[in-house]
Symmetry: C2
Subunit: 107 residues, 2 copies
């Protein structure tokens, strides 16, 4: 049985984002991601083969989809569906406290 808490063992300072895999199945991968001020490198876009449903649990972030000018503000409870091959980037994450994401990658 897999039991845990997403708010346990949250690092406060990271050189790179921390990704912890919580569940892996043939059609599904669930991850906890912790960002501490990280952003996608300027000019770089995520372009993923799988669709993703992502939820912010703590902190805050700005998410940009290609072709849009303003980031979408994500706060605790915010969720976004990102269809496969929808190019996007994280413009910023909270610098004062960790941003905790739940990412569900599926096909």
């Amino acid at each position: 049985m897999i039991i845990g808490n997403l708010f346990a063992n949250v690092p406060r300072h990271l050189s790179e984002e921390q990704i912890v895999q919580l569940l892996s199945a043939p059609n599904l991968r669930i991850e906890r991601i912790v960002s501490t001020g990280h952003a996608t490198a300027p000019g770089t876009w995520y372009d993923q083969d799988r669709s993703e449903w992502v939820l912010v649990l703590a902190g805050s972030a700005g998410l940009v989809f290609e072709g849009e000018t303003e980031p979408i503000l994500l706060v605790p409870g915010s969720y976004v569906h990102i269809a496969a091959h929808t190019r996007h980037r994280v413009a910023w994450t909270d610098e004062s406290a960790p941003t905790i994401w739940l990412a569900i990658h599926y096909q």
Copy 2:
């Protein structure tokens, strides 16, 4: 694009649990469930064809697996994986505030 917040429009009192489907795909269904003191009827067990990964976002609950005597305490951030056909029930949910669950059913 599907964007929302799990903490928006949370009812405080419900005669039955509220289930809102957030995403449906062939191998995946994501739901928000709100309980306000609800529990599984005594002697009744969930026995699901699909596996489930469930997360508590607010409130609290006690989850019992068949054959165990004590409920597992779930608080905000707690997650549990429930394999298909693992019989379980919700012994109780918080009566003082809504319990918000994120349920991911997959195959």
